[in-house]
Symmetry: C2
Subunit: 341 residues, 2 copies
């Protein structure tokens, strides 16, 4: 198929084996005020980590979802990120090194997306770190309502809510929360958040050089995962209003918020969808929520948890309360999310 | 060609004629704390515009380059943006309405990218606004060293430096600079900035539904413009290190900075290139600069002036000095660029 050939080599890379390391070096060079890179252990670290007396936050997962997780390292969010190879779990050694590097003496929270490899490796890393005297709590994100179980997951996949967990738990840690308190608010965000994604095209990993999955010229994958895992069904493309209506129904139906609950609406691009379309999707989402007597009091629109160059969009809704709103609004200084003093 | 069919319809849109208006509505809904939308005049306005006693900044141009310009409206940057239809100049009426809406009594600066339609319409708008008693200065950006004259331009095209002009002139206005001072620093940024872009794929406008230009599976357009205008030549794809070396040579050779000049390095995605590749490009750029005894003391990496979903990257270098560095670092609160108090 010529469509396959067309996209296969269209990347700014050198040796595909070096993509992650070279990109990490670029991240470090671009943001020396925020992060430092430990290339030997393959880590992105908050520049001033460990922060004494502050709970450390560690996340990680396969690369290819940038800016997740490395772009969220910095004051008010993560203390360290462990990037694996593209779409491949990081290894326990990385996670242990990260955990020790960010331990400020009051424990470390692991934020883990629900994929089998990530869960297994973070569990082992937590045990190893605890053997070395670091107190560790783990929080699992599993917000994707599209499917139960999937290619790499038992139970629901962890997707967009992970960004919100990292921001809000990061703010709680920055404000002096204990490990138990930071873990509790992280779990609260996961419990009150739901997501759903749609892909219009596949992505291409540098190592494979060909699309991860085949999709027809007039098709979309409804309920796609962030590695191109199958969703609920393959169907014909429709106008944005209809697609967003069905996505909203899936998310709101599962979340089932009380009337009047303020929402954080997170419209996330999967990488290849232009921003003009993401805002158009946000406009449709706003209308869909209004039809249900719901309102987004906070919004986030952009490419924050991606699948390389996949064209697609996910919607995440988080049921806010005063605590979560205040923690969301708190200052954050990372390469990809930055506001406040 | 099946590659053409594959991408043609892969968009989250309703009626293509409504894309710009619906996306603007989404921008307004997502960022009510920063901007407001005037749909009748097709404007993005700083929420509290006009700011009395502050020089107003207006820019605009065809849509499809998001977040440029609407995403840069807010405190410390633009007071208004006039979006045209996709890749189509806004009209003078829009520009006049924007100019009047942001006039705080001390004049308005028009920031105009060097494209024939934009230049003509902004010139007419400036005359009309002055007839109505608003003092207007105009600054042209023309930083693209790839080609002299082009499909829509006499002289060099205005590209990446436009983002830097909007940020730095915006900071100057926020700090109380006069119209003459704000215009002078805007011209200084344009004079000290140079850009060069490379495309790996075409974009697809919603109205056309087919790629703007044809490009082979192993080809790149070296020196591309932000509407897909031809560059210096079509050539075979090469490793990122070689591409960036040649891009750097084109930019540094033309800018010719004195040794030791601090640089702002702006690695910009054209829309469809994953962030992991943009940081890899930044890593190569850092090495290329070091080879020449140059250093980027400030960096910006991401999708800031795009061509819809085009896969590609541009590099902009700005020769900094103390004034420009301080204005770059000053707080900014816009949907797409945000830092500081």
């Amino acid at each position: 198929m010529s469509a396959v050939v067309t996209t296969a080599l269209k990347k700014f890379v050198n040796d595909p084996a070096d993509v992650v390391a070279e990109s990490l070096s670029g991240l470090g060079a671009a943001h020396p005020d925020l992060v430092r890179i430990d290339l030997a252990n393959r880590l992105v670290l908050r520049k001033d980590a460990p922060v004494a007396g502050k709970v450390g936050l560690v996340s990680g997962g396969g690369s290819g979802h940038e800016p997740l997780h490395g772009g969220f390292v910095g004051a008010g969010m993560l203390d360290a990120a462990c990037p694996g190879e593209i779409f491949t779990s990081p290894v326990p050694d990385q996670m242990v090194a990260a955990t020790k590097a960010v331990d400020g003496g009051v424990g470390v929270l692991h934020i883990v997306k629900n994929y089998t490899g990530d869960v297994m490796n973070f569990r082992l890393a937590a045990e190893l770190a605890e053997d070395e005297g670091v107190q560790v709590e783990s929080v699992l994100t599993n917000d994707d309502v599209a499917v139960e179980d999937s290619l790499y997951t038992a139970g629901r996949r962890g997707v967009g809510v992970t960004v919100l967990v990292e921001k809000i738990a990061g703010a709680k840690a920055e404000a002096g929360g204990s490990l138990a308190e930071v873990a509790a608010v992280a779990r609260k965000v996961n419990e009150r958040g739901r997501s759903f994604g749609v892909a219009l095209t596949s992505c291409v990993t540098p190592a494979a050089g060909t699309p991860t999955f085949e999709i027809g010229p007039d098709e979309m994958e409804f309920g796609v995962g962030i590695h191109g895992e199958p969703g609920r069904r393959r169907e014909k493309l429709r106008p944005a209003a209809e697609i967003v209506a069905e996505m909203t129904e899936a998310v709101v139906g599962d979340l089932d918020p009380d009337p009047g609950t303020p929402l954080l609406a997170f419209v996330n691009g999967l990488g290849g969808t232009p921003l003009i379309e993401l805002y158009l999707v946000h406009n449709e989402l706003t209308r869909q929520l209004a039809d249900r007597g719901l309102e987004a009091t906070r919004s986030l629109v952009g490419n924050y948890i991606t699948s390389l160059e996949m064209a697609g969009v996910s919607i995440t809704l988080l049921a806010l309360d005063d605590e979560l709103t205040a923690l969301w609004d708190a200052p954050v200084h990372t390469p990809a999310l930055r506001w406040g003093v």
